[in-house]
Symmetry: C2
Subunit: 183 residues, 2 copies
């Protein structure tokens, strides 16, 4: 399971093949197939494993903060730290899966799209709450969510493609600039 998610991180979810995983685990192909039934189920399991890592390290951690601005900042900061320190050799599986599966119909596509839509809703709810609380000025929630969601793929690209560690600092500052807070 963990191994399947590692392969997905390095090679993409399409690289999680039955034979490849079997060889890595020193099992037979039918041994692997017996657990998952078909390749798509195997890809879904690897994707859901990556999603659980994200939920635990980002959403649950930030959930300890007060709703509104404190939780919004905690979500964004935990997300950036997750992307920067994720224990996977090829970076965040969800970011890569977005472009890998955006044009491929199926259950994997649907889970990826729902995960990103859920993240947008999570952020949007805290933005709206922060406005209600008076901690953020009146603003268009969808606009702010668009700008916040953009930061993750950007820091992932800078780290994975360019090895640019400065991007982590730029990402944290981008969050505060987007929200109109003093950095």
């Amino acid at each position: 399971m963990a191994r399947a998610t590692e392969i997905a991180s390095e090679e993409g979810l399409e690289g999680v093949t039955i034979g490849r995983l079997a060889a890595d685990l020193r099992m037979s192909k039918s041994g692997v197939l017996g657990h998952f039934g078909a390749k798509e189920s195997l890809q879904l399991a690897a994707l859901r494993h990556a999603l659980r890592m994200f939920e635990q390290q980002v959403v649950e951690r930030a959930g300890r903060e007060q709703p509104g601005l404190p939780r919004l900042l905690a979500l964004c900061e935990a997300w950036i730290d997750f992307l920067a320190t994720v224990d996977l050799p090829g970076g965040c599986v969800l970011t890569a899966a977005s472009t890998e599966f955006d044009g491929k119909p199926g259950q994997v596509h649907d889970v990826v799209a729902e995960a990103w839509a859920g993240w947008r809703e999570t952020l949007g709810a805290e933005v709206a709450r922060a406005v209600t609380d008076g901690d953020l000025p009146e603003l268009e929630v969808e606009q702010v969510v668009f700008e916040l969601v953009a930061i993750g793929p950007a820091v992932n690209q800078a780290l994975q493609l360019h090895g640019d560690r400065d991007a982590v600092r730029h990402a944290h500052r981008a969050v505060r600039r987007t929200l109109g807070l003093s950095s």
Copy 2:
């Protein structure tokens, strides 16, 4: 050539296989291989074709504007329009190739990384010029470039994964907000 780039757009550059392209073009596999020599050359050709589309529709178009703020805005706006209207079935090849090849060494990886580094430099030069001209306040160029570069993948994701056309408007407004201009 154009067909190879279409396949890359829908399935990723790894989906541009010799047999697949041969079938689409009603040629034999060896006919295709005769033109390119090896699969990596074929992928490079498809990638360079996509790069030329980007250069023509974004960089050359914006190059008609005055250096500095006018050209910077034209670059960002042409880029968003390119992502929103690109004549490829699965969206921008360069955005997808970034996550597909960030962990796969080789010539394709290097061309992708150079293309994105070049785009950062192009934007950075115009930001610096706009500051010199007094059209933008003193700011950290790298920070602004990070935030501007983030907008492309974000609008690509919103369009390709969610079919969210509102993202085009959000992206244009994000450019102006990032630069501190009245929207």
